[in-house]
């Protein structure tokens, strides 16, 4: 353990302030992605009290839908394509596809279990994880795919927009952070200002009472899954655009960390998921740089375990009263 401490001190010296700024940038980009995935966890947990393990794999499928679009569209006549419409198509296909996937998962794996014991949907979710991962493994031959192999995206990565402290910030970083801010604002508008949002809040508060008041709860839950999964799909495309290496196992661990973010922020709270996502992204990046990349997952999971033990409601979560 004291060796680890020495490593950390050494690394603090060698990384310096400029390096720390680069880490801050990477952490915020990573955190923006975690936030979007965490939102899906938080919405589903808020409305069904269901830990949707499969959400991380929906994210993975979303990233692969982007790959699919790229192989269809950009494969043969690569860099001649206009960048902005291509990115819009990527997002549209991936969000729509992932949303539909989420609804299908809800329809077949969770809806039959609405009134089952609590353990049943969790097991079912594990089953969905394995169906999704094995399917993608079959379809892609367990291959690794890179978005930045497509020359269309060169412009995203090459030019640095700003160059503070000699640390480039490229368009991909700005795109990721900007898109996630826009999506979260849209989600907050949806939840707080629209009829569907009101129905969602009512269903989350008390499903039975909401259905007695004329809310079609099945449809509201399906809509929640659609929105959460669409956000995960968007995160998948952004993951491909910024961090790139996409393969069939990327989803599970990523989903777990995003879930960590949701729990740390306070599960059920949208702002909490944002905050938790950025926090986990920063912690992971800094832990990876200062404690050595081999330890970063252990640090993240350790933080989560401690957080759950001492403050299970998270930073912004409200204190739930246990019903008897």
């Amino acid at each position: 353990m004291h060796l680890l401490l020495f490593t950390i001190i050494d690394n603090i010296r060698s990384i310096g302030w400029a390096g720390a700024f680069a880490l801050l940038r990477d952490g915020i980009v990573l955190g923006a992605l975690y936030s979007l995935v965490a939102l899906g966890y938080t919405m589903v947990y808020g409305i069904l009290q269901l830990l949707n393990f499969a959400h991380g794999d929906v994210f993975m499928v979303g990233a692969f839908m982007g790959i699919g679009v790229l192989t269809v569209v950009a494969g043969p006549f690569s860099s001649a394509l206009p960048l902005v419409p291509l990115i819009i198509v990527l997002f549209a296909v991936s969000m729509l596809g992932s949303g539909v996937l989420g609804v299908v998962i809800e329809r077949f794996a969770y809806r039959p279990l609405r009134n089952a014991p609590r353990i049943a949907p969790l097991i079912s979710a594990l089953g969905v994880v394995f169906i999704l991962e094995s399917s993608v493994q079959l379809l892609t031959n367990a291959g690794h795919f890179q978005y930045n192999e497509y020359p269309v995206f060169n412009r995203l990565f090459q030019p640095a927009v700003f160059n503070p402290w000699g640390q480039p910030i490229n368009i991909a970083d700005l795109l990721v952070v900007g898109t996630s801010i826009v999506l979260v604002l849209a989600l907050m508008f949806l939840v707080n200002r629209t009829r569907l949002g009101k129905a969602m809040r009512a269903t989350a508060f008390d499903r039975e009472a909401a259905s007695m008041m004329g809310v079609d709860t099945d449809r509201v839950i399906a809509a929640t899954f659609f929105i959460g999964s669409a956000l995960a799909g968007a995160a998948g495309v952004m993951y491909g655009l910024s961090l790139s290496d996409t393969w069939f196992l990327v989803g599970f661990l990523y989903g777990l960390k995003a879930f960590t973010a949701a729990v740390v922020g306070g599960i059920g709270s949208i702002q909490g998921a944002m905050l938790g996502g950025v926090l986990i992204g920063l912690v992971e990046t800094f832990a990876g740089a200062y404690a050595g990349g081999n330890w970063k997952e252990i640090v993240v999971f350790g933080i989560l375990i401690l957080f759950l033990l001492f403050r299970p409601t998270g930073i912004l979560g409200s204190h739930a009263i246990q019903k008897v």
Partner: protein, 497 residues
């Protein structure tokens, strides 16, 4: 209740329902009790546990004498027994005490690695097994006590999350972290710890496959007996009470937290015991043996067998391990694999209720297949229909003696671009569509779905046995939860919070 009152004498026609007794429910229950499945289930439940265990041990003990070869004894015999022991241990935590322990595989790993540290060239320690096995079990139990004590107030999902993350952290500890102790990596990183000593009990070394098999069989039998008596004991009753309702149990002055931690530690110790045996058999501890995909196999065993049923865990282990091994592409039973697949599908179809419907569906599928085959053969040429069904990269000619499938299913001789992927995506879409429809439409949609399933199997799935196994496990977990959440031998309506 009104069951005790005599039935009203006036006109018991089936149209008018009696007060307090829903005639429709009563009739349907009586009808259900007469089905063969219900009769078998009833007989199973009335058989004493001792006889079940004796039957299992008897069959298992005779297996080495009729197994085809040593390889079969290893993958079917030893694999099944190891899974059975692990399933029973997990059953104590999940089934008896109702704790969703997703870090179970980590305790399995702790047992394996503790044994490997103490009896391998890693630190040049070669302790005898009668010392290392109890130490490994104690280490795992202590870790689980620590984890359980700190998270004792966590309920349901939160406990699942903490244990899952503990399991994840453990695998990361094993492979990338690999801290340096006394000059070398503690866990050996991705290579693990090789050259582990065989189990050595009081000077008797267990090295041959047959010796190990009988050692495992003894362990499984002792575990089954121990768990059976633990379940019958005061503690076992308290576990079941707190599983049904922790609050009520606490009011009844049952020390809920202590009992939960006890169950947790009990499961961890059993897992560690299995870990020591596993590592002594495979002679190496590698991190890949303890990741989430292994955990899902344990859960599949317990869930399929029935949560909370010891005999269910044994049966689940047999089914899961044998199907897993038959699906492996390297093994030399390609025809068994095919019959398992088609048999399962036909059985599932036959469970549709008026009997005429599944017969119609199967007949229509066969006709549909011949029609499609004729059209393709006429329009697309023979290159599309002359491949070897179920051929794999390991064994390109292995059709499993089923060339006749060529006359019915489309198996292209050479791969046509994305044909296989299109088949698979089409199959998924067809399954979803079938699930969305109802009545006769569903039956009609079932026909092309089944045919697509056959095509996907012969062209794609049979070649990728390991992936297909996980795919089918996933589908089984989802389907089982939707249809029969209590598993094959579990008791229904157990509320686990």
């Amino acid at each position: 209740m009104s069951e005790t009152t005599p039935p009203p004498p006036e006109e018991p026609t089936p149209q008018t329902s009696r007060i307090g007794v829903d005639s429709w429910v009563a009739e349907s229950e009586a009808r259900r009790a007469r089905t063969p499945a219900a009769l078998v289930g009833h007989g199973w439940q009335r058989t004493p546990d001792a006889i079940k265990l004796l039957a299992f041990v008897g069959v298992a003990a005779s297996y080495p004498f009729w197994a085809a070869n040593q390889g079969d004894l290893f993958i079917f015999g030893i694999g099944t027994l190891l899974y059975a022991a692990l399933g029973m241990g997990l059953n104590v935590v999940v089934g008896f005490a109702g704790l969703l322990d997703l870090g179970y595989v980590a305790f399995y790993g702790i047992g394996a690695y503790t044994y490997a540290e103490l009896s391998s060239p890693q630190y040049n320690l070669h302790w005898p097994a009668e010392a290392t096995i109890p130490i490994a079990m104690a280490v795992a139990a202590l870790v689980s006590l620590f984890l359980g004590y700190t998270s004792r107030r966590l309920l349901g999902d939160y406990l699942a999350i903490v244990t899952l993350f503990f399991g994840q952290a453990f695998t990361f500890f094993l492979n990338p972290a690999n801290p340096k102790v006394a000059g070398k990596g503690l866990t050996g990183g991705a290579d693990g710890l090789p050259n582990v000593d065989p189990i050595d009990l009081f000077g008797y070394k267990f090295t041959s496959i047959r010796q190990l098999y009988f050692l495992l069989l003894v362990v499984v039998a002792l575990l089954a007996i121990a768990i059976h008596f633990a379940n019958q004991s005061r503690v076992g009753r308290a576990w079941r009470a707190l599983r049904e309702d922790p609050l009520a149990a606490e009011v009844m002055s049952i020390p809920v937290n202590r009992l939960k931690i006890l169950a947790f530690a009990f499961g961890a110790a059993v897992a560690a015991l299995c870990g020591t045996i596993h590592v002594s058999i495979s002679t190496a501890a590698t991190p890949g043996d303890f990741d989430v995909s292994v955990l899902i196999i344990f859960y599949a065993i317990v869930i399929l067998g029935g949560i909370g049923s010891v005999s269910g865990a044994l049966v689940g282990a047999v089914i899961i391990n044998c199907s897993l091994q038959f699906l492996e592409p390297q093994n030399d039973h390609p025809s068994v694999k095919r019959w398992l697949f088609y048999g399962t599908i036909v059985l599932l179809i036959l469970s549709i209720k008026p009997v005429i419907r599944p017969v119609l569906v199967l007949a229509a599928t066969i006709g549909f297949g011949f029609a499609v085959h004729a059209i393709v053969a006429a329009t697309a040429g023979s290159a599309w229909t002359t491949g070897v069904p179920g051929a794999s990269a390991f064994n390109p000619q292995a059709s499993g003696g089923a060339v006749w499938i060529n006359h019915w299913a489309i198996v292209p001789a050479v791969s046509h671009g994305n044909f296989n992927n299109c088949l698979y995506i089409g199959l998924v879409a067809a399954i979803i569509a079938t699930g969305m429809l109802s009545g006769w439409w569903r039956l009609a949609a079932l026909v092309p779905t089944l045919y697509l399933a056959v095509l996907a199997w012969e062209n794609l799935l049979a070649q990728n046995g390991a992936i297909t196994a996980y795919l089918l496990f996933g589908a089984m977990l989802v389907g089982l939860m939707a249809r029969r959440p209590e598993g094959l031998f579990g008791s229904a309506r157990v509320e686990i919070v």
